[in-house]
């Protein structure tokens, strides 16, 4: 792989774009993405990346600068945890809640999956999420569950792009992202003529609302919310603009009136 195949590739692309002018916008977007990826990859030590050295350095620094300078905190944490927050965040490498919301060890019980989705109650198919919520709410007794979406989410982009008509092109991704299909339907109904990127931005936020509603399908969550011991919040981290949005889901049962 050298200069020759790069030149060939560029020539082939040019030739295609001469024949099919309408593809220029798509091509430009893809080239921009590739450039960014290569830039990101090269900016992080591309010479000889040793994954083991990398994590060793990370751990040694953590031990020296955090663990050993705070023996009281880590001593207590070794005995047990009592986080006030449970957080659902995307697996995306750019949105770790420990960075974005400055959570320190012991602060937040964190579940991370594609597009920070909370599926509805299902003991078999979604035992993983159910187990995490059950543990957090009933055992750790967290006071808040926060579902945090984010900009440029690949999972949401997939949700908006895949036809989701049963003919899956992936083993698991389509089956997973379709959990937030109601968000896609809503966005398409409300902004059919908007640009795709704009629709994705709306869907990223709407999907959080779908997840918040799904949280209420877990009886122990519903009970906690009605009793007032548990609050459900939605969040959106926009790393393009360096901004954060926060909102709440409120749910309650009003007093009964005899008619």
């Amino acid at each position: 792989m050298g200069n020759e195949s790069y030149e060939d590739a560029i020539e082939a692309l040019k030739k295609l774009l001469i024949e099919k002018d309408e593809l220029k916008d798509v091509a430009a977007a893809k080239v921009k993405k590739i450039t960014a990826e290569l830039q990101t990859a090269s900016s992080s030590d591309s010479k000889s990346f040793d994954p083991v050295e990398r994590i060793k350095e990370g751990f040694v620094t953590f031990k020296k600068e955090k663990y050993e300078t705070n023996p009281a905190l880590y001593g207590e944490l070794a005995k047990g945890q009592s986080p006030k927050y449970m957080v659902f965040a995307c697996s995306d490498s750019r949105v770790c809640p420990s960075h974005v919301l400055n959570f320190h060890p012991g602060d937040a019980f964190v579940v991370r999956n594609i597009a920070n989705m909370v599926p509805p109650f299902d003991k078999v198919k979604y035992a993983g999420v159910g187990a995490a919520i059950e543990y957090a709410v009933l055992h750790l007794k967290v006071e808040n569950i926060v579902v945090i979406g984010h900009s440029a989410c690949g999972g949401i982009k997939g949700l908006m792009s895949f036809p989701l008509d049963g003919n899956n092109s992936t083993d698991f991704i389509e089956d997973w992202v379709k959990i937030c299909l109601p968000a896609k339907s809503k966005v398409l109904a409300e902004s059919e003529s908007s640009a795709f990127e704009d629709q994705c931005g709306r869907c990223e936020r709407e999907a959080v609302n779908v997840s918040l509603a799904n949280l209420l399908t877990y009886p122990f969550v519903r009970e906690g919310v009605v009793k007032g011991t548990l609050a459900l919040k939605g969040g959106y981290y926009d790393f393009v603009n360096g901004a954060f949005e926060l909102w709440e889901l409120q749910f309650g049962i009003s007093p009964v009136h005899s008619i």
Binding site: A41, N102, W176, A243
Partner: protein
């Protein structure tokens, strides 16, 4: 920017088949302040399940005055929570985001992480904290007890993340990190036979059943705590073995473009043990059905 309380309203129509929840969103710390209302419909089946709560909630004689909403959340505490989250984000923005603005700008266009990390949801073991991963470094899955279900069956949440990170992001390393005093492993070890199927936790940790069996086979004479520690490590290897059951993962490991590593964070004495899967040697073991071979084991303390 002061955080004004978000406004809520709840409308219940006892005669309709759905309830409406009204959410008002406020961008508190962003460049634009906007207020918009979203409505969610709650289906009838869900309300039926909730009616018994309705009966219990009305301890007093029904009167004509209607409370605006029945939510008992202490408003004062709520404002504290909003404020807490706001302070956390502003700290991140000031201490990290603005300091490294160029890097964050590049990241906004694309991510190219070198790691897929599978870690426990435990609040004490965030890989970013313990191993110093910075934004952009590691695509991270966190679930109870950092378990990996088999390719062919079992709960599905973790699998989409495996597929995306390996096939789309083309990560070069997968690191499964277990830890000391894991509540999930403890639940697995305490569980009786197939577990209580009424409990989500049992339905999930049973994914690690083989690790429990291999632990019982060699360590049943040890104190329960030591058995759990043994299982915590056995489970990491079990997950690594499971990963090789995903065809697109095995393919890349075979080609040499993907490496699998195990890690164990002991927060009692602050040590980190790490090892790498030796694929070539593992293939021999696979025929026997006895697990994986590892190499380059070391402990950092």
């Amino acid at each position: 920017m002061a955080a004004t309380p978000t406004h809520f309203s709840v409308s219940h129509d006892p005669f309709s088949s759905t309830s409406l929840l009204n959410l008002q969103t406020q961008a508190i710390f962003g460049p634009n302040h906007s207020l918009k209302t979203t409505q969610l419909r709650i289906p009838a089946s869900f309300r039926r399940k909730a009616t018994n709560l309705q009966v219990m909630a009305s301890g007093k004689t029904p009167g004509l005055t209607q409370e605006a909403n029945g939510v008992a959340i202490d408003r004062q505490n709520n404002t504290d929570v909003f404020d807490d989250i706001k302070q956390r984000f502003l700290a991140f923005k000031k201490l990290k985001y603005m300091d490294d603005f160029e890097h964050y700008k590049n990241l906004a266009d694309a991510q190219a992480p070198k790691f897929l990390v599978i870690a426990c949801a435990d609040s004490r073991v965030c890989p970013s904290a313990v191993l110093g991963f910075q934004p952009g470094d590691a695509f991270t899955v966190r679930n109870i007890a950092n378990l990996v279900p088999p390719y062919e069956s079992g709960p599905t949440e973790t699998k989409a993340a495996l597929e995306f990170s390996v096939n789309t992001l083309n990560v070069e390393n997968i690191l499964v990190i277990g830890h000391s005093r894991c509540g999930g492993i403890q639940a697995l070890m305490k569980m009786e036979d197939e577990g209580d199927s009424r409990s989500f936790i049992h339905n999930w940790v049973v994914v690690g059943k083989k690790a429990k069996e291999s632990t019982k086979a060699v360590a049943s004479n040890l104190h329960f705590d030591h058995q759990c520690q043994h299982c915590e490590k056995a489970s990491i290897n079990h997950s690594l073995e499971r990963l090789l059951g995903y065809p697109w993962i095995e393919e890349k490991v075979r080609q040499g473009s993907l490496s699998l590593h195990g890690g164990y964070y002991n927060f009692v004495d602050c040590t980190f043990e790490k090892w790498t899967v030796d694929y070539a040697a593992s293939r021999g073991k696979k025929k026997e059905g006895s697990g994986i071979a590892v190499k380059d084991r070391s402990v950092w303390s």
